[in-house]
């Protein structure tokens, strides 16, 4: 099908964009990469009266690292270094595939995750911020945002506010963003050098959404887990941070690196906890909740093992 008729504006500044979005007389949608929105409009599941194309707004394509960020970053803990990555609303998925685009373990994790998103032509257009605002439960970026304590900056005519990722996602395609707000910037605390990272995804074909995807970041000291972050995609009606699984790992001895962890291994245990207690999968075609819990347990175990191997390859201070 073809989209229903709509008005189109292409503002040049954030101010103009939020003024267009703030007009309550017209149902407006933000067009960034358009790789979901235009498809929804073609299917006539989305029928906006006004499309606000932000692709010509200056400054939104920036991907920058600042020493401390401009506020909003939190929970640096053992993982953080105090540095903050700022991702503008027009940074495409493909930007994270370029070597060195983001420093350190966070950059490695983002590169692994970006490679799982659809395929190159989609990654050339689609944006991280668009994916977060779209809030598909299977989105890789949404799982990373909740696992890594991202902060989302929403601009409106009357000012900006920052929302923590854990408060942002409310359900499938449902977020704390109001229709009059524009998601302009996403902040991620950098991961400390020495953090091991991994991303594991299962999908039916190159074109499919993830049936389950898992992001893991672990810090080890002398073979003991000091800190762990686990993000789950498509394991509930929204992205999940597997806090109970994370907690089960803290202080656990992981033993020598090697083959598939046995049933009693901390990684296998964490996989079971994530699948049974953190996840709450909803039925979907080809993958019922039981199946997805099974896959989640396997992928969490696998991601943790790979993250631990990554950490051991890169002892503290020898990163990058």
């Amino acid at each position: 099908m073809k989209p229903v008729p709509f008005d189109y504006v292409a503002p040049r500044t954030v101010r103009q964009a939020v003024e267009a979005l703030g007009d309550p007389s017209r149902e407006a949608r933000v067009l960034a990469g358009g790789q979901s929105l235009i498809m929804e409009m073609r299917l006539r599941r989305a029928t906006p009266r006004l499309v606000v194309d932000i692709n010509r707004v200056g400054g939104l394509g920036r991907l920058t690292v600042s020493a401390q960020g401009t506020g909003g970053a939190q929970e640096t803990g053992a993982h953080g270094t105090g540095g903050v990555l700022e991702v503008g609303a027009l940074v495409r998925h493909a930007a994270f595939e370029r070597p060195g685009a983001v420093p350190g373990p966070l950059g490695r994790l983002f590169a692994l995750a970006a490679a799982e998103i659809a395929h190159p032509p989609i990654r050339a257009r689609g944006t991280m911020a668009g994916s977060l605002a779209w809030a598909h439960p299977a989105s890789e970026w949404c799982a990373l945002a909740v696992a890594l304590d991202a902060v989302l900056v929403l601009d409106a005519v009357d000012g900006a506010r920052a929302v923590a990722a854990r408060d942002f996602f409310l359900g499938p395609h449902l977020t704390a963003r109001e229709a009059r707000e524009l998601l302009t910037l996403v902040r991620f605390p950098l991961l400390a050098d020495g953090t091991g990272v991994a991303f594991a995804e299962h999908r039916r074909t190159c074109f499919s959404f993830a049936q389950v995807a898992v992001a893991a970041a672990v810090t080890l000291r002398d073979g003991v887990v000091e800190d762990a972050r686990i993000g789950l995609a498509n394991c509930a009606d929204r992205p999940v941070r597997a806090r109970l699984a994370e907690r089960s790992l803290i202080g656990a001895e992981i033993g020598p690196p090697g083959a598939r962890p046995a049933a009693g291994h901390p990684f296998a245990r964490a996989g079971a906890v994530a699948a049974e207690r953190d996840a709450g999968p909803v039925p979907e075609p080809y993958a019922d909740p039981d199946y997805r819990r099974h896959v989640a347990a396997v992928l969490v175990r696998r991601a943790l093992r790979e993250a631990a191997a990554d950490a051991e390859r890169r002892p503290e201070g020898v990163d990058r």
Binding site: K2, A10, R42, D53
Partner: protein
């Protein structure tokens, strides 16, 4: 809405509704029917064109988004003398098409990748990754991979490459 697209090097002034999809405008307004529409939802890749040198799905872009931008379609691949592009010659030599419906998309995806990085056609893994974005229901992909590898070698050997 009045827009100007640079299509295969020529400036084209158009008056289009905002809801018109780039692929439809290329096919119906510019009469460039080499760009094919299969799934119309970003999956099959038959509609792949280059916008400012980047391979994109023309079924998932509005024509008005491309105002002032450069669009390259399969019609723009051959040289000024009509000589087919090395990729087109390689597709022919390797029998990389049967029905031909998907071919423009594969050609444009491959052109973008090879122009951005000539090494994208070297090595089985890289070529496999390159064809991942497009569907072909005839060939089983192997001849397409061979054609891309062949064209990549030819392009790398070209003077000035």
């Amino acid at each position: 809405m009045k827009i100007t697209l640079t299509v295969n090097g020529d400036d084209v002034a158009l008056d289009v509704e905002p809801r018109r999809i780039l692929a439809d405008v290329l096919r119906e307004d510019c009469r460039l029917t080499g760009t094919h529409l299969g799934c119309e939802q970003g999956v099959c890749g038959a509609c792949t064109v280059l916008v400012d040198g980047e391979a994109v799905r023309s079924c998932l872009m509005l024509a008005v988004q491309c105002d002032g931008r450069s669009v390259r379609t399969v019609e723009g691949l051959s040289g000024a003398d009509g000589e087919p592009h090395p990729l087109q010659l390689a597709f022919s030599a390797e029998h990389a098409l049967q029905c031909g419906f998907c071919t423009p998309g594969f050609l444009m995806a491959a052109v973008a990748a090879l122009e951005a990085d000539p090494g994208a056609g070297a090595g089985d893994e890289r070529v496999r990754a390159l064809v991942e974005s497009n569907l072909c229901r005839c060939t089983g992909y192997e001849p397409i991979r061979r054609a891309i590898t062949r064209a990549a070698a030819r392009l790398a050997a070209r003077p000035g490459a």
